[in-house]
C-alpha cells in the first residue's frame, strides 16, 4: 500500500548500492528510513534492473549459491522497502526527452523522475540535510 502523505524519495542506483555497502552515512540513513517505511522509496524500473544487472556483473566470479544469495538479498530489501515502481518510459518518451541530458542511458531514469514531480532526489536531501527532512516529514503527517 502506498501512503500518499509520506515523503517520497527517488533514489538512483548509486545511493541504494552505497547504502547496502557502507557501514554508515547519509545513503545508509535514507535506506534505513525507506526500509522502516518512514520515507516512501520511489524506484524507476530501469534503476531496479540496473542494480540487479550490476550485481550480476560481479556475481560472475561467485559460486552459484552466493550469487543466488546476493540477488535474493536484493529482493528481500525490495520487499522490506516496498518501493513505488515507475514503469520504464516508452521509446518515444525517451526520444522526446533526449535533449534533457547528455548521456543517453541516463534519459530513461530522468524521464521517470519527471513523471513523479513531488519526489525528493537524494541529492536534494544531501543539500537540505536529513534532520531538516525529518522535521518536514513530521509536519506532513
Amino acid at each position: 500500500m502506498i501512503h500518499r502523505n509520506r515523503l517520497r524519495v527517488f533514489l538512483d542506483s548509486n545511493v541504494i548500492l552505497a547504502g547496502f555497502l557502507s557501514v554508515w552515512g547519509l545513503d545508509k540513513a535514507i535506506l534505513s528510513l525507506c526500509a522502516a517505511r518512514i520515507i516512501q522509496l520511489v524506484l524507476a524500473e530501469v534503476v531496479r534492473l540496473e542494480i540487479e544487472k550490476n550485481l550480476l556483473i560481479h556475481s560472475e566470479t561467485l559460486s552459484r549459491a552466493d550469487s543466488d544469495l546476493l540477488l535474493s538479498d536484493y529482493d528481500r530489501f525490495l520487499q522490506l522497502a516496498h518501493p513505488e515502481i515507475i514503469p520504464p518510459p516508452s521509446v518515444s518518451e525517451v526520444q522526446r526527452h533526449r535533449g534533457m541530458i547528455r548521456h543517453l542511458p541516463d534519459v530513461p531514469v530522468r524521464t521517470g523522475l519527471l513523471r513523479k514531480p513531488r519526489c525528493y532526489l537524494r541529492r536534494l536531501l544531501n543539500q537540505i540535510g536529513l534532520s531538516h527532512t525529518i522535521r518536514n516529514i513530521s509536519q506532513m503527517l
Binding site: H3, S13, N14, L17, A18, G19, F20, L21, S22, K28, A29, L31, S32, L33, A35, A36, R37, I38, V46, L49, E50, I51, K53, N54, I57, H58, T61, L62, D66, L69, L70, D73, Y74, R76, F77, L80, P88, V91, V94, Q95, R102, L104, P105, D106, P108, V109, G129, L130, S131, I134, I137, S138, L141
Partner: protein, 106 residues
C-alpha cells in the same frame, strides 16, 4: 496520551520520557504494542542532528546489508568496485530496453 489507532504510528505522536541510570528509557506500553516490540526486541538508534530516531525493523535491513557486504567481500569487491561498474550496467539495461535508439551525440 492520545494514540493513533492506525496500524502505522505517525510521527505526530510525541511524548516525553526520562532517561534513567545507565541510559535506560521506558517506552510506553501502547507504543511497544503497536510496533510489535517486546522485552529483548532489537531496535536501531539513528543519530540525526540533535536527535535520536528509534527504528524497530532495522535488524532485517542490517542483516541484508551485512550479508551483501560479506558475499561481495569473498571475491574481494569493495563499495568502490561495485559503484565503478554502474555505468556499464546502466548501458546494458538501456541496450536491452531501448536498443533501437541510436546515440547520435556520442
Amino acid at each position: 496520551m492520545q494514540m493513533n489507532t492506525n496500524e502505522e504510528l505517525s510521527l505526530g505522536n510525541v511524548m516525553t520520557v526520562k532517561i534513567a541510570r545507565q541510559g535506560q528509557m521506558k517506552v510506553p506500553k501502547q507504543m511497544l504494542k503497536q510496533l510489535h516490540l517486546e522485552a529483548g526486541s532489537e531496535v536501531s538508534l539513528i543519530f540525526l542532528g540533535n536527535g535520536l530516531l528509534l527504528l524497530p525493523q532495522q535488524t532485517a535491513l542490517e542483516t541484508i546489508c551485512e550479508r551483501i557486504r560479506q558475499t561481495l567481500a569473498k571475491i574481494g569487491k569493495t563499495e568502490a568496485d561495485i559503484l565503478a561498474t554502474l555505468p556499464e550496467a546502466r548501458h546494458k539495461v538501456f541496450k536491452e530496453l531501448y536498443g533501437e535508439i541510436e546515440d547520435n551525440d556520442s
